[in-house]
């Protein structure tokens, strides 16, 4: 849920409570004021009627309300002494409504000029409370809806404007990638909280960028620093092997040491390559024709495949041309082809298929299905091939990720297949 709507959901509940409570208080106060006003009117009528009765004694016999709003009954003196003015709610049959409707009634007692006591009832029509409540309820509902709608509109127009810097920061953070050589630039705003957020995020990212860069530099430097001692060791041993005083056994011993050092060199170079791919240090892109590349690599691996008695075939149902770094394209495809040749059996085959939007490399193998969740892990080795660094597929994966392509592994009918989709 978006922040704007989130606040609105809370606001809608709060508004409901506030408007509800307000409605009750308003209703009670209004009713009170209405009674007050009606009662004042009745009081006034009482004085006027009593004066009128004094001047016109026939009115004493008006015992029904009929067309006017009062009725007079004679009462005993005894009874009259106990009576005070009473305001009460009552009902009266209304001709127009054809129903009993609520009225306000004042009961009072007076002594007429003939010395007898009379009870005077004065009525005044009242608000119909159920109607009032109903009207009030609809008014409240409308008020609530209008309030919510205005809040929604204000939220979306005003708050969106106010929160714009925040969303800009969010957007920048979302698109920010460590190692992309892109600096996080702050958004200018007048809101101090956003400025603090900006500054904090910038500082945090700057620190991360610095750490990332120094780590990147460290991996690169470490790899470079390793190259020199490796070069010295290998070259010294090479010079040593040229000494004629060495026996064949000694020569072979030295040779295995050189092989190990070369393996270390390869490992070092491969790690450096991985780190450079992950650090996105291959910005140059050219248009790479994978059909040509596959044919060239198939011929480059001709001697190796011949030695392993593996047949390489390249089929080209489509022309596959994509823009990427030429060096990486070559590493990508050659790693897959080389793996397919090495993890094969004599008289097996390697099939490279170039489609317009993808490439598949399949090979026959006795190993059975590999674990698809781990084959692209660094240093994951399925076979005990002594010259394998366990990084070949990790490099393939990092190149695939670098360009946002996908690669899928499958095993069917004794064949491993790697399918790249561009």
């Amino acid at each position: 849920m978006k922040l704007l709507n989130y606040t609105l959901s809370y606001l809608s509940i709060a508004l409901l409570v506030v408007v509800g409570v307000w409605a009750v208080i308003f209703y009670v106060n209004m009713l009170d004021e209405i009674y007050d006003s009606i009662d004042d009117g009745l009081e006034n009528s009482k004085i006027l009627i009593i004066r009128k009765v004094e001047s016109d004694t026939t009115l004493i016999h008006k015992t029904e309300f009929m067309e006017s709003n009062y009725a007079i009954h004679e009462i005993t003196d005894q009874h009259a002494l106990h009576v005070r003015d009473i305001y009460m709610d009552s009902t009266l049959y209304m001709q127009n409504e054809k129903d009993y409707e609520p009225v306000r009634m004042l009961k009072t007692v007076f002594r007429a000029s003939n010395g007898k006591y009379y009870e005077l009832q004065i009525v005044s029509s009242m608000v119909e409370e159920d109607d009032l409540i109903e009207d009030l309820f609809y008014a409240i509902v409308w008020l609530y809806i209008v309030l919510l709608a205005s809040v929604l509109i204000i939220n979306n127009v005003l708050l969106r404007k106010v929160w714009k810097p925040f969303y800009t920061i969010l957007d920048k953070l979302k698109n920010f990638r460590l190692g992309s050589n892109e600096n996080f630039s702050a958004v200018k705003t007048n809101v101090s909280e956003f400025n603090i957020l900006n500054d904090t995020v910038s500082a945090l990212l700057q620190r991360n960028i610095a750490i990332f860069n120094s780590q990147k530099q460290f991996i690169e430097n470490a790899s470079h620093e390793l190259q020199t001692p490796l070069a010295i060791s290998i070259n010294k041993l090479e010079l040593l092997t040229e000494k004629n005083s060495l026996s064949d056994d000694q020569l072979q011993e030295i040779s295995t040491v050189i092989e190990s050092l070369e393996r270390l060199t390869r490992l070092n170079k491969t790690l450096l390559l991985l780190s450079r791919i992950e650090n996105r240090q291959f910005p140059q892109q050219t248009s790479v024709n994978f059909n040509e590349l596959a044919l060239r690599l198939a011929s480059a691996f001709g001697d190796l495949s011949e030695f392993k008695s593996v047949k390489i075939s390249v089929t080209q149902p489509g022309t596959c041309i994509y823009s990427l770094n030429a060096e990486l394209a070559e590493i990508l495809l050659s790693n897959l082809i080389k793996n397919a040749i090495l993890h094969n059996y004599p008289d097996g085959s390697v099939m490279v298929t170039i489609h317009a939007t993808g490439i598949s490399v399949s090979n026959t193998s006795h190993t059975g299905s590999l674990d698809p969740s781990h084959i692209f892990d660094r240093f994951y080795k399925n076979s005990a091939a002594k010259n394998s660094t366990g990084l070949g597929l990790a490099i393939v994966k990092s190149i695939i990720d670098y360009y946002g392509y996908t690669i899928r592994y499958s095993y069917t009918n004794g064949q491993h297949t790697f399918l790249i989709q561009f």
Partner: protein, 225 residues
Amino acid sequence: MKILVIEDEDELRNVIVSSLEKENFLVESAADYTTALDKVTGYQYDCILLDIMLPGGSGLSVLDALKKMRKQENVIIISAKNSVDDKVHGLNLGADDYLAKPFHLSELTARVKSVIRRKSMDGQNIIELNNVKINVDDRLLYINHEPVSLNRKEFDILTYFIANKNRLINKAALAEHIWGDHIDQADDFEFIYSQIKNLRKKLKDTGAQLEIQAVYGVGYKLIAH
């Protein structure tokens, strides 16, 4: 032939010097930027091996200085940085070749001889050894003045062997030189044997006064009779 080795790592410099001296080159060396600059200013060399990262300055500045003095020295950059960008940058500055550390001594020898040959033989890139004559540019082989046909790899192998004659060549070094980087993890480099076998047969059949010897488990050696 005079060669200057500019490299700050003592051990590496020593081993390069010894290797080049075996080829009867006259080798001098410099361990830092100032010495290097003094030497390239004062003397004439046939080839300069130049490390990029030097105490006191960058090897690329030495390259710049050479260019400003309009010297025609052959320069091979030897760098721990193996990146295409660096390579292109160095070559643009006028270096003749670029070799990433660590390298095989046989590779270094072949490269040094190649750059020297390119400029010294009056444009004629020809190697002669006993009764064998190779025209490198036109990729032609003559044995006893008779043309012999070789495939591309056999030709490269022979050229590499002759550049390193009488020296033991590591099979990994040979594989890297001929088959390139792709092959660097291929198991044991045994696959190079079939090409060597074919080359050997052709040399024998045509009466070349050369012999490729296998040193079991290590590599090969070309002996000039």
